[in-house]
C-alpha cells in the first residue's frame, strides 16, 4: 500500500510548486494517472520510489517512508521510464538483467540463469546476447521491464511506458504490465489503457483534481482539456 500524507514538492531554486500537498492511499492493484504534459504526473510517480523526495509531508510504501528507507523502498518499487534507452546500461540484454541481479543473486552462473529466466518470461530469450542498441523500441521496453521484474518488486511504477511505442508494441507491453501479479501505478496519455485500471487519478497544475472510477475520470479529463467552465475540483 502506498500512502501520501500531505506530500508536496516545491522546486528548491524557483520556489514553484510542482505538486501541491496531496493526501492519498493507493491500495488498488492497477491505478492509472492521467493529465496534461507538465501537470505533475511524473513527479507524483517519482515520489513513490524516492526518486523525488517530498519537500513537505511524507510518502510511505508498505509502512516505510521514502525519506528514511529509500533503499528498501526502491527494492520494493520497480520503475519503468518512458524512454527505455536511458534505463539500459550494459551492452547486451542478458548482461543488463544480470546487473539488476548483482546485489541479490550471488555467483555469475546463478545470475546468468536468473537473467535468462527473466528474459524468457518476456519472450526475449533469443535476444539475450544481442546488443541493446540493436533492439527495437518495443524490445528495449520489454528488456527494461525484465530488468525491473528480475528483482521481484511488489509494486511497479510505469511512467508513460508505451508513449514511444508503435500500436503493436503498445498493446503488447500494456497487456503484459496489466497481467503482472504486482501493484501497477501507470502514468499514461493512453486513455484506453487508463480505462482498464481500477482507479484513476487526474492531475492538473500539480493537483489531484479527480480521483475515482476510470470512466468518470477520463470524462472529467476530457472536459478539463476541452474547457468546460462548469467543471470544478472533484476530489
Amino acid at each position: 500500500m502506498i500512502v501520501f500524507e500531505d506530500a508536496a514538492v516545491v522546486a528548491p531554486d524557483s520556489g514553484v510548486t510542482i505538486l501541491e500537498p496531496t493526501t492519498l492511499t493507493l491500495s488498488e492493484r492497477h491505478i492509472s494517472v492521467i493529465g496534461a504534459n507538465g501537470s505533475g504526473k511524473s513527479t507524483l510517480a517519482r515520489l513513490i520510489n524516492g526518486l523525488v523526495m517530498p519537500t513537505e509531508g511524507t510518502v510511505t510504501v508498505e509502512g516505510k517512508t521514502t525519506r528514511k528507507h529509500g533503499r528498501e523502498v526502491r527494492r520494493m518499487v520497480g520503475f519503468l521510464f518512458t524512454d527505455p534507452s536511458a534505463q539500459l546500461i550494459m551492452p547486451t540484454a542478458a548482461e543488463d538483467v544480470m546487473l539488476s541481479l548483482r546485489r541479490t543473486v550471488k555467483g555469475k552462473d546463478a545470475r546468468m540463469r536468473a537473467a535468462l529466466e527473466a528474459l524468457e518470461s518476456l519472450g526475449l530469450a533469443d535476444r539475450a546476447d544481442v546488443a541493446v542498441s540493436a533492439l527495437s523500441g518495443g524490445q528495449r521496453q520489454l528488456l527494461a521491464l525484465a530488468g525491473v521484474l528480475a528483482v521481484a518488486p511488489k509494486i511497479i511504477v510505469a511512467d508513460e511506458p508505451t508513449t514511444l511505442l508503435d500500436l503493436k508494441w503498445r498493446g503488447h507491453v500494456g497487456a503484459l504490465l496489466r497481467s503482472l501479479p504486482v501493484q501497477l501505478i501507470e502514468v499514461t496519455h493512453d486513455l484506453d489503457s487508463a480505462m482498464r485500471a481500477e482507479r484513476t487519478l487526474v492531475i492538473d497544475s500539480g493537483k489531484v483534481v479527480f480521483d475515482g472510477a476510470p470512466g468518470d475520470a477520463v470524462q472529467f479529463y476530457r472536459d478539463l482539456i476541452f474547457g468546460r467552465p462548469e467543471q470544478t475540483q472533484r476530489v
Binding site: R71, R74, A86, L88, I89, R102, D129, S133, A134
Partner: protein, 235 residues
C-alpha cells in the same frame, strides 16, 4: 554507430574459452611489445596474426568487414601521412602497430562479455578499495561504453535536424542541441541507476569498506555506527 559495440556472442572458440585476465594481459603485452618492434616483417606478421585471431572469434561477417575496413582506412591514412613526409618505413611501422592493436582489441571484445570485463576490473581494483571504489569504476566503464552509441545517435539526429532547418553548415546548430540532449540523457541515466537501486549499491560498497575497517573497541564501533546512521538519515 560503432559496429563493434555489443558484438559479443556466446561461442566456444579458443578465444571465448580463454579467461578474461589472459586476454587482457595478452592485449597489454602485445601493445607494449609493438612499441619496440621496428622490423617491417615482424610488424606485418603480428598484424596478420591479430587479424587471424579476430576472425577466429567468428564475429558476424558484416560487423567484421566494417571493422576491418575502417581499421585499414585509418592505418592507411596514418601511413600515408608518413609516406608524404618521406618516411615510408615509419609509416609501415605505425600502420602495423595500429592494425595489430585494434584487431587484438576487437578479438578480446568480441570474445569477452562485458560482465566478465567488469568482474576483472573490480577484482584488479579490489586491493585498493580503501582508495578506489572498485565497483563504481567498473560501472563507470560500462556506462562509458554504453554512452558511445547513444552519443553517436544523438549527434546524427542533431545533424539531420540542422539539415532540415537548412543550417547544416553551422557547428553551433549541431553541437548545442547535441550537448543539451547528451546532458538530458545523462540525467535520465542517473535517475534510472537510482531507480534500479544500482546507485544504492555504490553506497553499500562504501559502507562495506568502512565495515571492514571497524575499530575494535565497542565505544569506537558505536560512534562509527551512529555516524553511518546520520549519513543514511541525511541521504
Amino acid at each position: 554507430m560503432n559496429p563493434t559495440l555489443g558484438a559479443y556472442r556466446p561461442l566456444r572458440t579458443p578465444m571465448h574459452l580463454a579467461p578474461a585476465w589472459f586476454k587482457v594481459l595478452l592485449l597489454a603485452l602485445v601493445s607494449v611489445l609493438m612499441i619496440f618492434v621496428q622490423d617491417m616483417a615482424t610488424g606485418v606478421a603480428f598484424a596478420s596474426a591479430s587479424l587471424a585471431l579476430y576472425l577466429s572469434t567468428l564475429p558476424p561477417w558484416r560487423t567484421a568487414l566494417k571493422a576491418i575496413l575502417w581499421t585499414f582506412l585509418f592505418a592507411a591514412m596514418a601511413a600515408g601521412y608518413q609516406l608524404w613526409r618521406g618516411e615510408w618505413q615509419l609509416g609501415v611501422d605505425i600502420a602495423t602497430d595500429l592494425l595489430t592493436v585494434v584487431f587484438l582489441a576487437l578479438a578480446v571484445s568480441t570474445a569477452t562479455p562485458m560482465s566478465e570485463m567488469l568482474d576483472l576490473l573490480s577484482g584488479v581494483l579490489r586491493p585498493f578499495r580503501r582508495f578506489v571504489p572498485h565497483e563504481t569504476i567498473g560501472l563507470m566503464f560500462s556506462l562509458l561504453i554504453r554512452l558511445i552509441p547513444e552519443m553517436v545517435q544523438i549527434l546524427g539526429e542533431s545533424r539531420q535536424a540542422a539539415m532540415a532547418r537548412g543550417v547544416e553548415r553551422s557547428p553551433r546548430a549541431i553541437l548545442v542541441p547535441a550537448a543539451t540532449r547528451t546532458v538530458g540523457f545523462a540525467v535520465d541515466l542517473g535517475q534510472a541507476l537510482h531507480a534500479r537501486g544500482i546507485a544504492d549499491g555504490v553506497v553499500e560498497e562504501r559502507d562495506e569498506v568502512v565495515d571492514s575497517e571497524l575499530p575494535k573497541s565497542r565505544r569506537a564501533r558505536r560512534a562509527l555506527e551512529s555516524r553511518k546512521a546520520r549519513r543514511r538519515a541525511a541521504r
